[in-house]
Every structure is written in structure tokens, then in C-alpha cells.
Amino acid sequence: MTPSPSPADQPRLELVGITKRFPGVLANDQVSFTVRPGEIHALLGENGAGKSTLVKMIYGIQQPDAGEIRWNGARMVIPSPKAARKLGIGMVFQHFSLFEAMTVLENIALGMDASIPARDLEQKILSVMDQYGLKLEPHRIVSTLSVGERQRIEIVRALLLNPNLLIMDEPTSVLTPQEVEQLFVVLRKLASEGCSILYISHKLHEIKALCDTATILRGGKLVATCNPAAETSRSMAEMMIGGSLKDIQRGAGREMGAAKLVVHDLCVPKDGPFGTALKGINFSVRAGEIFGIAGVAGNGQNALLLALSGEVTAQSDAVQVDGAKIGATSAKARRLGGMASVPEERNGHAAVPEFTLSENAVLTARDRLGMVSNGMINFGSAKTYAGEVIRAFSVKATGPGAFAESLSGGNLQKFIMGREIMQKPQVLVVSQPTWGVDAGAAGAIHQALVDLAATGSAIVVISQDLDELLSLCDTLAVINEGHLSPPMPVAGANIEEIGLLMGGVHGDPTADVHVSKEVADAY
């Protein structure tokens, strides 16, 4: 054990040369950095940069192959999350582990290492919530809570252990701007009490607003440690992707045509007890227009995509393309009629993982591109088309014969987007087009969408990423609990108003709805 220096300047957490290898990938390569007590330390990087692997080792889920973790100056092996919690390390995951049908209190009790009587636990929870201004009703059933409220459960669960280090994995990806603001208040208060925070994100403006230090990872290697306040969002993004960013090229002064896609009073009953019903959705998209639909996850985005793609049918006049009423027709008929779609889930919905890219091209392009004659598939033309998509969208794959599951998420997404865009659809509906896609690929996908719109197609983009919608779309509407807000032009959109619409009646009505200047400016 190393002799410890005075506690004040001793780092709380120190990583030295951490290396982790998985079959075929070097997830972390000689990563070293330190986190001081009370510091909010950002871990920044694209998807696949190795952020999650790194924190999993700190939280004891995985073990490093080489290097050491020092906790308050002492070398540690952290064999399990339980051991990590004993040391005072808490973690809030991106995907919550909550039971929908149980109450807040029951969910927290289930996650505790020690069993505490319900009454005492409730007292402790209430005092923690009171201390940090976290509003939560312990006896509410989780399925009735918004995503922001669910995240608060996870935070309370972590805070009950009085952590010295709190790891937050992509905490704001599903929050409204107001909820982000509330979260920042809690995190700042925690840090001021000496708790260190390791904040994982790829949202640069948040890191600039919140963090003291940022460690940037790229391809498993540490590329820079910087002070976010002294950097611009652009300079950090360029360090993160290791190149210069491309701006979206828009044709100046585009003329919008006549309404191409009209959605009229679209109602869909909810699918299962935790699904969301669509309640009279109305909007129209003109030729050449990119129409954005913002909203927090689980407010009916999925149902809307299925109703537009034809996987779920509605009344005949609910969906109209160029005046043709196609609301009751099948997915196949809609595609033949020029309406294409890309669902949010790549594996098993937009593509079949165990099929080759050629075979996946057949899935949605077979009828429009004449790959079928007399009930037989012409795999030659499917292979040619898959090859064209691979070239045009720079998909990293061994060729049309590569299995979809062998591609990284971003490359598969590029292939799927390319497969739809290169069919030149009249209307394209996409959900989460750049989820889990690195910045370079996201830029290429955005550019392809803008180019498609320039040819006179109508495009609907459903996304939880408000930055993406604001930079890409001409018009924006917000979906909340299956209702769609009236559309507003993106030029001159009010971020505070959008945030309120995203929260809707769904969020906490008593919460402070003001968005601070720094969050608003960051958008």
C-alpha cells in the first residue's frame, strides 16, 4: 500500500493504465485519470469509445486485464457491484432496472444490500429527497411515472448509500430541458458536499454547463483531459471524433411544395398495459419539408411510427399521401405507394440480425426495386442494390454477404437508412435516425435526409434528441402522452416552450419550470 498523502489533495479515484480487451476489440487501452473529492468529472466519447466499459470496471461489473484502480490512494480490486457500493461508489444506469408494476418504495427496497424495515426506509427516503429537493411520491406505481421521475428513483437509491463517488451514465438522454435543469441542481449540491461525480455523456453543452474537468476517450484511448469551460463545444466534439465536423449543407431558400403527407385524426388504441395510445394526431408535411417530432421516450413515438409504416392500421383517411387515403392499407402497399419508414430498433425490427445485408435489402426494397418475379427473389439484384447502399453510405462491412449482426450499430443504421433513402420514397418516416451512431455517421445520415428532402420528398423525423431536431428540421411538434402539439417553425422556436410541451401534464406540475439561461443558451 502506498503511503497516503494528506487527505485534502489526495484523489478520490485514480485509474492507472487500465486496459480491457474483448474478443476482437481493445475496449480500453492504458487509460489513466484522477477524480478529486467534490469534482464533477465528465467522461466524454462517442458510442463505442469505451466509456461504459471503463465505468463498469470502476463499479465492479467487469475486471480490468491490466492497470490498477486506486481508491483514496489505496490500490483496490473491486470484485462486484456490491463491493463497489460498500466502498461508497454509487451508479445510475442509462437503462433503469425498475419493476413497472411496483411502487417507488418497493423498488428501492428491492435494490438495497441490507434489509431495512419499510417504515425506516420510507423515512430515510423522505429525508434524502428533502435534502436534495428530489420530488417523488414513495407510494406511486412506477408505471405511472415519467422517465425523469424514474431516474430520480435510481438517484435516491444511490444516495441512500451516502456515496463518495456517483457514476451517472448518459443521465439526460431521456429528460426534458426542465428535468435536466433539476438534475443539475441536485448534482451540484452533491458535489458541494464533497461527493465526486463521474458524468458520462456525449452532450457537449451539458458538460460545459456542469463539469469541472472532462476526460475524452476515443477508440478506447484517452485522447485529452481538458477544462470544458475553456473549450468550445466544437473543439471538444472534434477531439471526440478525431476530425473536423461537417456542417449540414442545406439548399438555400428551399421552396416547399404542396402538402404531401397528411395525418388526420389518427387514433390507435394502446398496445399492452404499459403502451401509449395515440389520441387524434393531426399534422401535415409538405414536399421538401423535414418535420420533427420531439418528446420524451414512451409518449407514443413507437405507436406513431407503427401507424405510419402500416404495421398497425387505422381508419382509411387517417394517413394520406398525395391525397390517397392509405390509413387502412398494409405496410407492403404503403411502400409500393412511395412511403418508407425506419423504426427505432435496428436489430430484429428494421433488420434481421442473422441475415446478410443482401437478404436485408430484400426485406423492404423487394417490391419497389423489382427484386421479385413470379414469386421468386432475384438475389442478384438484391446483392447489387446492397452493394450500392454500402458504397453510397460508406457502410463498413465486408460486402453484401456480411451478416447484419456483424456490423456495428452505427454502420447497420447507415445501411438501413441508405436502404430506404436510395429507394427515393415520396414520404420517409424515421425514428431515432442517429441513436447510438457516432458523430461522423450521424452527420452523413443527416445530410442524406436533407438531400432527400431537397428532391421533393416529405420527411418525418421522430427523435428524443432535441439538438438533432433543431438542427435538422423545418417544423417541429411535440408528442406527449399520445397527443401531438400544434406544429411550430423551428426558426425562432422557444426552447422553454418546447421543454414545457415535452413535460406536458406528464411531468411534475409543481416543479420549477424555468429553464436557466445557461441551459437555454446551450441549445
Binding site: 462486484s80 463491493a83 463497489a84 405496410a331 434481421v352 423487394r366 427473389i377 451478416f403
Partner: protein, 361 residues
């Protein structure tokens, strides 16, 4: 040192082919050891069950006759299994198909010839398919598990068979035995080689795998079945109807079992008695899995399983083990093939040095 399962980046094509072969070999090895422990000459027994039918040319026609129904039924089942439709009732559909052929033959009276035989075979396909339609309707309308409903319908088919051959269709000259009258020459399937017992059904069983191969790999229907089976949501996205797929998959499974029943009746047995149910419908499930649900795989696996049937009879006389031993070997093959499935997606890795556990206390 410990053994670790590690996920492969993509499924291994090699393992897809190697594991069925390995399953057969491991079955043979374990069979040898078990028989030796029981005081029976294991090497001799395994050789007689797996090799003798192939080495003695006069056993080949027996192998061909047994393989034909197994291959035909397995082809139909593998289509359903590809679409995640689990038809366990092929045995019942096989019986109903044979009964339908018998019914046409009886209705035709003394008439015979090409069109009567064709009608008998087509009736076998039609009724086998209709019998499989019952579980299909139950599944698509009320979400009834097809494994249970199709299996139970097999027992119903035994009762139908017993009723018909013991009552309305009983041979008047049969000394009151519950059996149909033997088919006249003009209602029987032609033989491929005069003097042998190899009938036209064997040729059909050799051709059909190639037809199915083209259908599954090249046609839109084959594609639909594969998508519905591996990613139902993607199938919906691609505009394929899952219910329609269940229907067609069940119809094909039932139709093929019915065809096998009709061919077995008109080509080999010529009469239906209470001993008609032979278990081919169940053994074909093993054939389908050992053949990796691939039509050509079914052809090869059908021959392997037929060899064990014939070999079982050989071993009965040579080393005096019961005929049912073949069934144990067949079950072992299925067991090993299912157990080794994991190697397609995972590989085994031997991990040496254990990690020191230090802190967290």
C-alpha cells in the same frame, strides 16, 4: 483453470455442419461404452446399427423404404420449424393422409390406374393438410399452443383409424381382423425396379428435397418463413403477415405428412391395420433437427435415421438386443444435436490464471 463460453461475433457456419456429424459420432461412442458396461459387445452392436445396413447391399432397399416417409415428413416440419411453428402432430397427419387415400381407393371400387392412384395421393396431401389446419386455426384465433393441440390430435387420429378399420372399412374377407382389404395391383404405386420393393414414393422423396431447397432459398415464401421465424417484428415491418405464415407452414407440414402416409399405404403396406402408426411422424422431428432444418440436410438425416431402424433389426438377431434400442440411439442423436446447438453462437475458451480478489470489504 476453467472453461468459458464466449459469444461469437457471428454464428459459425462450420459448426452448423460439424455439430450434426459430431452428434452421430458421439452417439456411437457412448453407445459402445454403455453396451460394453452392460456386458454386450458394444463395438459389434454399434457397427450393426450404424454400418451393417450400408455395407450389405440387400439392406439398401429397406433403408430406402424407411427413409422415404422420414424425409418427406421432415421436409414439411422443417418449414414450420423455420417459422417457429412447432407441429408435433405429424404422426396424426400421416395417419389421416393414409386413411384419406384408403377412402378414395374404397370409393373407387375395382377402378384403378393412374388417375385413381393420383387421386388417392392427392387426397392424402389434402386431408393431412386439413388435419394440421385445426391446430393452425386454434393458434391464430385463440392463441392455443400448437405443440399441445397437434400432439393431442395424434391420439384422436388413432381413434379415427381404429373406428374405420374396425367398422365401416373392415375387410369382409379378413377373418374379422380390424384391417382394410389389401389394395389391388391397379390401385398400388408402381415399383421403381421390378422384383424389388422400392416404389415410386422413394423417388419422390429423393426429388422433393431439391424442390424445397429452391423454395426455401429462392422464393418470396421461403424468405417470408425465415423472416417470421427469426425476427417477427422485422417480418411485420417488411410487410409479411405472421398469421398467414403460420397457416401456410402448418398446411405444408400436414400436407407432407399426409403425402408420406398415402405413399406408405399405396406403395409399401397396401393395407391399413391397427399397427399402421409407426412413429415416423415423431422420428421425422429428429430428422428435421439433425438435418438442421435444411432440405438437403433432411435428405441425409432421413437416410441416417432409416439406417438405425434397419440396423436395429440387424442387431436384434446378431447381438440379441431389443429392436427398441434403435429408438434410444435416435433419441441420443436428438439430445446431442440440441445440446451442441450452443456451439454455433458461442465458442469454448479455456481460461487459466484466476484473478486475485483483494478488496471491497
Amino acid at each position: 483453470m476453467r472453461i468459458k463460453l464466449e459469444r461469437r461475433p457471428s454464428p459459425s457456419r462450420t459448426m452448423l455442419v460439424v455439430t450434426p456429424i459430431a452428434s452421430v459420432i458421439v452417439t456411437m461412442l457412448i453407445g459402445m461404452v454403455v453396451f460394453d458396461l452392460m456386458g454386450i459387445d458394444g463395438t459389434r452392436a454399434v457397427k450393426d446399427i450404424f454400418l451393417t445396413p450400408l455395407l450389405l447391399s440387400y439392406k439398401w432397399q429397406d433403408v430406402a423404404l424407411k427413409a422415404a416417409p422420414l424425409i418427406i415428413i421432415a421436409l414439411g416440419l422443417s418449414v414450420g420449424n423455420r417459422a417457429q411453428v412447432w407441429n408435433i402432430g405429424a404422426e396424426g397427419q400421416y395417419i389421416v393422409g393414409a386413411l384419406a387415400a384408403a377412402g378414395i381407393g374404397i370409393a373407387a371400387g375395382t377402378a384403378g390406374g393412374f388417375f385413381v392412384i393420383l387421386a388417392m395421393v392427392l387426397a392424402g396431401i389434402l386431408f393431412g393438410a386439413l388435419y394440421a389446419l385445426i391446430p393452425a386455426v386454434l393458434k391464430t384465433r385463440w392463441d392455443v399452443n400448437e405443440i399441445l393441440s397437434s400432439l393431442m390430435l395424434t391420439y384422436v387420429s388413432y381413434q379415427i383409424l381404429g373406428f374405420l378399420v374396425g367398422g365401416p372399412w373392415k375387410d369382409p374377407n379378413g377373418r374379422n381382423f380390424p384391417a382394410t382389404a389389401p389394395l389391388a395391383e391397379n390401385q398400388s404405386l408402381p415399383l421403381l425396379f421390378s422384383g424389388s420393393t422400392v416404389h415410386l414414393g422413394v423417388l419422390i422423396a429423393l426429388i422433393l428435397p431439391f424442390v424445397f431447397w429452391v423454395m426455401m432459398s429462392r422464393s418470396v415464401f421461403g424468405y417470408q418463413v425465415r423472416v417470421v421465424g427469426s425476427a417477427p417484428q422485422a417480418a411485420r415491418h417488411g410487410g409479411f403477415d405472421a398469421k398467414q405464415t403460420v397457416w401456410i407452414a402448418m398446411l405444408i407440414g400436414g400436407g407432407m405428412a399426409g403425402l408420406a402416409g398415402a405413399l406408405e399405404f399405396t406403395g409399401a403396406l397396401k393395407a391399413i391395420n391397427l399397427g399402421f402408426p409407426s412413429g415416423y411422424g415423431f422420428t421425422a422431428i429428429i430428422v428435421a433437427f439433425l438435418g438442421r432444418l435444411h432440405p438437403i440436410g433432411c435428405l441425409i438425416a432421413g437416410i441416417v435415421l432409416a439406417v438405425t431402424y434397419v440396423g436395429g433389426q440387424v442387431a436384434q438377431t446378431s447381438v440379441h438386443i431389443p429392436n427398441s434400442t434403435a429408438g434410444i440411439f435416435q433419441a441420443m442423436m436428438l439430445f446431442f444435436i440440441l445440446a451442441s446447438d450452443i456451439l454455433i453462437r458461442y465458442r469454448l475458451r479455456i481460461v487459466t490464471a484466476a484473478k486475485p480478489v483483494v478488496a471491497g470489504e
